[in-house]
Amino acid sequence: MAAKQTVLGQGTHVVGEVRGDDALVVYGRVEGRIQISEELTIEPGAVVQADVEAKSVVVSGVLVGSIVATLSVRLTSKARVVGSISAPSVGIEAGAAYRGRIEMGDVDVQRSASASADKGRSATVPAAAAKAPPRLASPSKVAPATAPTAPARPATVAAAPPRTVSAPIRPTTAVAQQPAWARKKATKRR
């Protein structure tokens, strides 16, 4: 494993793209992009100006650029980092200097969360429209049976008609938005 390890020494300066399936240790300078499927170690004295992608990243030197790790990111006490970090696990030791945005957790989880949120929004609109008619119908049927709650029902009946009114409005606004797309597409096609 040690023989397969890639080392960029102190006096070495790489401009461009480094990628592969080996572990990479940087003592020198890298400008551009690093994309490896094993561990990336940026040693003290190293200067990396690159967007970095690896299984895990340990920074003890200077790194300017975004970090994406599938496992973990660790900034040691000697690290100086500017850029966003995205990894399931992020550790910053005391003494490290960092500026940027950190995102933990899997990207898939975020996507599914945002997707379910969108589904929730779109689902509430038809649900409200679907629930409105039964509410209108139910007071007329139930009202004679229970007298004490009768005062409350006119309120629900009064509230219900605006819902039924507002429900048809939404489709019309949606239809109003569609021509804007249709027009753009139509003009492009022409």
Partner: protein, 104 residues
């Protein structure tokens, strides 16, 4: 410790400059310029113009070479490109195609 080694499964596209020796086992495309020795090991694939004090080729090199001291193509080495070196060794079994200039 700090010598530069580019492993078998690593690809570098771009420019490598160095003040020390460089050993390539993987793939390099672009340009390589090091102050000391450059070793292209067996299995390595380099498509680059290369400049170093001494160059040893046991892998595959496509590109021009400037060696300030010595250029050696080992028996398992393959080289296509122009070679400029003070001393030039082509081992028996090596493959070479290009111009040679030994008047540095």
């Amino acid at each position: 410790m700090a010598n530069t080694v580019i492993g078998t499964n690593i690809t570098i596209e771009g420019e490598i400059r160095g003040e020390e020796s460089l050993t390539i086992l993987g793939t390099v495309k672009g340009k390589v310029a090091v102050a000391q020795g450059l070793i292209i090991e067996a299995g390595a694939n380099v498509e680059a113009d290369v400049e170093a004090q001494s160059v040893t080729i046991a892998g595959k090199l496509m590109g021009n070479v400037v060696a300030r001291e010595r250029l050696e193509v080992r028996p398992e080495g393959r080289m296509v490109g122009d070679a400029k070196a003070a001393r030039f060794v082509i081992a028996d079994g090596a493959s070479f195609k290009g111009n040679v200039d030994m008047d540095v």
